[in-house]
């Protein structure tokens, strides 16, 4: 990813950029920071880290954003410090860059912040730890599901989802019933690695949730792990008030090869939302039953080219499998 950005920066230019970083004009320093970040060269990392101490908040924010190109302990330490910046935008940019970390070696400074007094700092630390998948985060993440702030609980669920450790299952099951809908949604999605019966129970509960994004996650989970007895609940979800839920339910019914769902899925092919028509056409192809062919052939001239293509492909799959 080095050297191919808008500002085509080469190593030889870094010295010139460093000169501009000493400019009295914060706008000039900011542009220099952008060029540094665009270069993505290793030599730019310490310069960006130093810029986190710039007196101008915009320069610090740009430096924090630019560090998303870099990984490792030094970057994590610097960004962890920027989380405590007095400017909220700088802290938010640091949190966003922390989420891009992948190296397990970046974990130590983040693990020190998971008990910080400010909830947004704790949440950002957990968000940064998610992609690192480090075992020492397991027990604290389970404990963090009891945090008073839902943002922290939500990010801790994300860490547990990445760790996929069975020790976290009881806490994730509990989180699927959290008072905050975003925590419930994340927990239900995270349970995809759970044994079938556990995930099925979470999906059933989620499909009846009052919040549509939780129902959507539950429908997606039902399809992802092919919960065989979820078909009746998913059929009901095809009438959900939110098309996003209906779409995920349709896809799940396709994964379950539910022949009973064909008429309802066929009816969705005339829905005004083209994304829903696409999901229904995909599901009918997954079911691979000739009863779906009249529905699919009827949308051969659909206004949306993706619907036309998927319907044609699904019909091809059905006709091919019929021999």
């Amino acid at each position: 990813m080095a050297g191919q950005g808008i500002f085509e920066t080469l190593s030889a230019d870094l010295a010139e950029i460093e000169t501009r970083l000493a400019s009295a004009d914060p706008a000039e320093r900011r542009v220099a920071i952008i060029e540094l970040a665009e270069s993505a060269e290793a030599a730019a990392q310490p310069m960006l880290i130093r810029a986190l101490a710039d007196p101008d908040a915009d320069v610090r924010r740009e430096a924090a954003s630019g560090l998303d190109q870099f990984d490792g302990l030094e970057t994590a330490t610097a960004l962890a410090g920027a989380l405590l910046d007095p400017d909220a935008d700088v802290a938010a940019a640091a949190a966003s860059s922390l989420a891009e970390l992948k190296s397990p070696g970046a974990a130590p400074p983040l693990l020190t912040l998971i008990v910080h007094e400010r909830a947004e700092v704790r949440a950002a630390a957990w968000r940064g730890l998610r992609g690192l998948k480090v075992k020492p985060a397991l027990a604290p993440a389970i404990e963090a599901l009891k945090d008073v702030d839902p943002r922290v609980r939500r990010e801790a669920v994300g860490v547990l989802a990445y760790l996929k450790n069975e020790a976290a299952l009881p806490a994730l099951i509990e989180a699927a019933r959290d008072q905050d809908s975003d925590v419930r949604r994340a927990a239900i999605s995270a349970l995809a690695f759970a044994p079938g019966a556990v995930a099925a129970e979470a999906a059933r509960g989620g499909l009846a949730d009052e919040h549509w994004q939780v129902r959507e996650a539950a429908a997606a989970l039902s399809g992802k792990i092919s919960i065989a007895d979820a078909a009746p609940s998913l059929m009901l979800a095809l009438d959900d008030a939110f098309w996003q839920v209906r779409g995920k339910a349709a896809l799940a019914l396709g994964k379950l090869a539910s022949v009973e769902a064909i008429p309802a899925l066929g009816a969705l092919l005339s829905h005004s939302v083209s994304n829903l028509r696409k999901d229904a056409a995909t599901a009918l192809g997954d079911i691979r039953h000739p009863d779906a062919l009249p529905f699919l052939d009827a949308v051969a001239d659909d206004a949306d080219p993706d619907v036309r293509k998927i319907a044609r492909w699904s019909a091809h799959l059905i006709r091919s499998s019929a021999g």
């Binding site: 001239d301 206004a303 080219p305 993706d306 293509k309």
Partner: protein, 77 residues
């Protein structure tokens, strides 16, 4: 969405002499992101069914017999 009905105005034209869709080729139909091309079941040749071309050109570039021509509007050249 409108059907392509007047051949003289089609941005995508297919040379029926070169087109080998009747031999099973569906390259132009498959690569079109707007899905505007079809194989005519009567002639066995590809044709433009929907008048929605983006002038993105994979149909012309990928056609194994160079049967597809895309007339790019003057202002887009």
């Amino acid at each position: 969405m409108s059907f392509a009905e007047n051949p003289s105005e089609f941005p995508v034209t297919i040379d029926a002499e070169k087109c080998i869709a009747d031999k099973g080729c569906t390259v132009c139909v498959d690569v079109c992101p707007l899905d505007v091309l079809r194989i005519n079941p009567e002639t066995g040749k590809a044709h433009m069914r929907y008048d929605e071309c983006w002038y993105c050109l994979p149909c012309a570039l990928d056609c194994p017999t160079k049967a597809v021509t895309v007339a790019i509007p003057y202002l887009l050249r």
